[in-house]
């Protein structure tokens, strides 16, 4: 995989899939030359985003998109749900998005191609996924 090439995979939106989604994302991050901590940061952020898809989105699938360009690794976790919806009764502690913000360079919440996306940016030291 070289700069500009796009990895995309779909996973069922079920609890046991979350480990697979983060494993895939951190493996690709390693191929971008990141440190162990860098790969773990990707795993953690993706785990939070994928968990949110399973808990909150009502979507039947988790979409993972990974792409390297301009020296950055772009990791997108998408679902077919309505987007971030305010829930007064959320079962979580509300740590997911702040954790994503803490371990990523930046993240964006947006609708694109009819999907709800959380798009996270991480460093990609080698400039591309080798």
């Amino acid at each position: 995989m070289v700069p500009g090439v796009r990895f995309e995979a779909r996973f069922p939106a079920i609890p046991v899939a979350v480990a697979e989604v983060r494993g895939k994302a951190s493996a690709l991050a390693r191929r971008c030359g990141v440190s162990e901590q860098g790969a773990h940061d990707v795993a953690l952020a993706v785990s939070e985003a994928a968990t949110n898809v399973v808990i909150h989105s009502g979507s039947s699938e988790i979409v993972l998109i990974v792409e390297a360009h301009d020296g950055d690794l772009h990791v997108i976790v998408a679902d077919k749900g309505p987007g971030l919806v305010p829930r007064r009764d959320s079962p979580g502690l509300g740590l997911g998005l702040p954790i994503i913000a803490t371990v990523s360079s930046s993240f964006e919440s947006r609708r694109r191609d009819g999907r709800n996306e959380v798009a996270m940016v991480f460093p990609c030291p080698t400039g591309g996924i080798s």
Partner: protein
């Protein structure tokens, strides 16, 4: 369903209870996330019901906010006064415990390894 050993020797999560003088050691291995946090929380609370517990996360490689929420809930239970944590914690787990200030909410046990 089968006795044959499979290629999958690496379950995502394993919890082991070892009885020790003075209480139990609860050893967690693998990864704690939304699919394993409930087992972790339930088993830990059950062990706390039996007395002193040292939580050993030295073989835990990953924890996300589901694990932090599980510990948070355990700490709200009165039985949490019987809980201490083994200070051997791998870097990724330490990182999320620090990020969420959970590290300061835990009582650490004297290390019993050398």
């Amino acid at each position: 369903m089968s006795d044959t050993p499979t290629a999958h020797h690496d379950p995502e999560f394993e919890l082991l209870i070892q009885s020790e003088p003075g209480g139990n050691r609860v050893i967690v291995r693998g990864e704690i996330d939304m699919s394993t946090a409930d087992t972790f929380r339930t088993q830990l609370l059950q062990a706390l019901g039996d007395g002193e517990v040292v939580l050993d996360m030295s073989e835990l490689h990953f924890m996300d906010s589901s694990g932090v929420a599980a510990i948070d809930e355990v700490l709200r239970d009165p039985s949490a006064e019987h809980l201490t944590v083994d200070p051997h914690i791998l870097e990724p787990v330490r990182r999320i415990l620090e990020m969420t200030d959970m590290i300061d909410a835990l009582s650490f046990a004297e290390s019993d390894r050398r």
